[in-house]
Amino acid sequence: MPEMAYYEAKLAALQEVLRADERVRLIHETFLGLSPRRSLFGEIEKNFPGRVISPPISELGVCGLAIGAAMAGMRPVVDIVTASFSFEAWPQIVNEAANAFYMSGGRTRVPVVFHMIHGLRGGGAAQHSHSPQAMLWNCPGLEIVLPSSPRDVRGLLKSAVASDNPTVFVDHALLFEIRGPVPDGDDPIPLGQADIKRTGSDVTVVATSFMVQRACAVAEQFAAKGIQVEVVDPRTLVPLDFETIMASVEKTRRVVVVDECRHSCGVAAELAARIWEAGFDKLKAPVRRVATLDVPVPYSKKLEEFISPSESRIVEAIHGVMG
């Protein structure tokens, strides 16, 4: 299978969705964030004149515009850039888009994608480092997609754009340079299919987004010591493929959940609670959560590292459930 960098796969997917459907528009142009690769996006702007639009700094108005355009038959992909700025658009995402299909009695469809880059990017400090996916999961009506590999970003972006529902596409800047196999052709990856990123029989690590990469690195270390870690990546939180997660849990009976949301009411809390509920009598040890500590994000590197779901904290949690 050909290898690709994550940023290449993402750019390829953006071109593919634009090509596949005349109704697709990209609103804003920082799909690669602050990455030095971001200039490559210029290619897309050149290839699809009029299909990429630069908006003012008005996240609320712009997301609302995209939602309204989706209701009226377009398929807009809005780039909110840093996920923290989704808060500016919160009333539109959470109280308009999420409710539209339901409160219209299943009549108004909102095929919009909200693209954003979440998490601890390194030096983003308190106001630019949020992971809003837990808050969003608390809002029924939104699909939530968290790619973690070149293959996934390509396949999931297509399904996100093809979906008739409002979909939040939550990316992570630290993934952009990762390389990995991406199959030829351009098959979308259906939303709601978890992926076993690494097979193992001793302990299950359920991880999302960039944490999948971190979990795999840790799994590598454990493999060297003869402990086989299975890494399960839900890939989408809504819809959630809980069967795949539970199949792994039933096999290993020891679970660590790793996610970059803050600890309290984070994604790890929900996944852990569901695993407990379904696996109470199967678990050999309490499920461990590794999340960003309940602290505003500090700027200073050492402090940021201290609160992050770091490799060392994942290692410790695995020891915890093995011990």
């Binding site: 515009l65 299909f101 009695g105």
Partner: protein, 348 residues
Amino acid sequence: MLPRLPRDNLLELCRKMLLIRHFEEGLITLHNEGRFRGHYHVYIGQEATGVPALSLLEASDYVFTTHRNHGHVLARGAAPGRVLAEILGRRDGYNGGKGGTFHVAPVELGFLQTSAVVGGIIPLATGAAYAAKEKKSGQVSVCLFGDGALEEGAAVESFNLASLWKLPVLYLCENNGKYGHGRATSAIRSSSMAVFPLTDLPAAYKIPAQQVEGTDAGLVLTVIGEAIRRLRRGEGPQFIEAQTVRWPGSVSNWPVLPVRTQVAFAWDMKAVPEAVKEWYQFSDPVLLFIRELLDEGHASKEEILDMQTSVADEIDEAIKFAFDSPEPDPKSALENIFAAEKRGGCDA
């Protein structure tokens, strides 16, 4: 000023206004009887804005409205029975009872989303206009909201987008005296909006903006008709502020019916309680319109009385229809969270 329209059209406008009035008055009675629940808002006093304005649209145009939507959906031809069923939370409501009074949205009439978040629809309507422009469909998007919505940042962010991208959206601000407690423009300044007149705000964004007397159907038709022509010519967004005087029944947080409107008030005010006489004499758009019809000889009192009877019958039927409609199956609460198949856009 009576619109320059054939008699049939004039009578049709009158009938719709009267229908809305009777619908809303009937609704207040139903609420007083405890027959539906929840906070709700009525369109009494604004009929001469919504009815003529929406009569100017094509079937394919989009309309976005708010918590004060009943009059708008009826003006555009929604079946009163299905509107009421929605307000009662019944299965035959336009939205299966899931929306309720805040969110009545007959999608087949171009109502894509009815939001009760103040300011919420302004970006949405702007987006539908963006879609119309991109699709080159010739559609326009009409956004009906209250004066209070201009206090929300969402309004100006939308004005900026619409102006920059020349979107075919009509911002129709119905200034009904803010919260029903006072008038935000004209003589009295608002305690919650420093912009005065309100048209200064869209004007700062280079959006053509005018005021119109919202109780005068003829003026509304003229002014909005011109605005819609400018929209269709691709001249970009338009803003109209339609001013109406607070209906005395909306002083408090919940509507209170001071008197049931009778078309006969148009020529005989005796039965109107003293405390509210002024409003029904000078500011009631329905009675004003009837008086004009009579004065200019377009209808006789008998014809108007007949119209009232027919409207009352229609409302009675609507009430029967709505109450006959079954409650939704509780388990259906779990349906319609997500669209399954891929179709895009809306039902319409």
